[in-house]
């Protein structure tokens, strides 16, 4: 089965410090990976995706993600975190074997950025 795992329920970081949110995946075939962010009482917002090509993907709000095939990881990063980055972050993989359309989400990682 294709899936993603987010090993950390919560990440705490001080404003201005680097932020990393971890995601590992398990897929058969090529991985199609996505990151979404959910602010309080809001829907999910798309941040970035990896389809093919460069392993470093740049997205919205200064976020980037590094695809690592050997480690089956797709960690989300931001060089300098802001208090406004405090939110719930989800990693997702496109399921291509049984239903190509479905996005399979991780459990989410709560990011808390302190001033």
């Amino acid at each position: 089965a294709q899936s993603v795992a987010q090993p950390e329920d919560q990440v705490n970081v001080a404003e201005g410090n680097p932020l990393t949110v971890k995601c590992t995946y398990s897929v058969s075939g090529n991985p199609y990976l996505f990151w979404y962010v959910q602010y309080p009482n809001r829907g999910l917002q798309f941040l970035l995706k990896y389809i093919t090509g460069d392993n470093l993907v740049k997205g919205s709000y200064g976020f980037e993600a590094e695809f690592n095939k050997s480690q089956t990881s797709f960690h989300l990063k931001k060089p300098s975190a802001l208090v406004s980055d405090s939110a719930l972050y989800f990693c997702a993989v496109r399921v291509t074997t049984d239903s190509w359309g479905k996005l399979q989400f991780g459990a989410g990682t709560q990011v808390v950025v302190t001033p």
């Binding site: 199609y32 996505f34 979404y36 809001r42 829907g43 999910l44 917002q45 798309f46 995706k49 389809i51 093919t52 989800f90 496109r94 291509t96 049984d98 239903s99 190509w100 359309g101 479905k102 996005l103 399979q104 989400f105 991780g106 459990a107 989410g108």
Partner: protein, 115 residues
């Protein structure tokens, strides 16, 4: 429309009543998804539409749940004889093309409370 629109934004219903949740996808988007997010939980896939057909209904929790999509646009998710465990935020998303690399755009959700 400019984004995925869901209505109502909040719904409180009595146990045993039926409810209908509506999703209006981005104009021209052929794929539509329903997810459920319970408090403190990740996203649970419910059903996926391509056009008016639903190739994947595997996530519907029980036969009390059904969904339809008409005219390749608006979708309604119906929950019959609601139970307290149905309380959750129901999220709808749409995407433009039948390609695995296409991201989905989410609405702000309908918060359902069954009392």
């Amino acid at each position: 429309g400019a984004g995925v629109s869901q209505s109502p934004s909040n719904k409180v219903t009595e146990k045993g009543k039926d409810v209908e949740l509506r999703c209006d996808p981005i104009s021209g988007h052929t794929a539509l998804y329903w997810y459920r997010q319970s408090l403190g939980q990740g996203l649970e896939f419910l059903i996926y539409f391509q056009g008016n057909s639903a190739p994947d209904k595997s996530g519907l929790p029980s036969d009390r749940f059904s969904a339809e999509r008409t005219g390749g646009s608006v979708s309604t998710l119906t929950i019959q004889r609601t139970q307290q465990e149905d309380s959750a935020v129901y999220l709808c998303a749409s995407s433009a093309r039948r390609q695995v690399g296409t991201e989905a755009f989410f609405g702000q959700g309908t918060r359902l409370t069954v009392v």
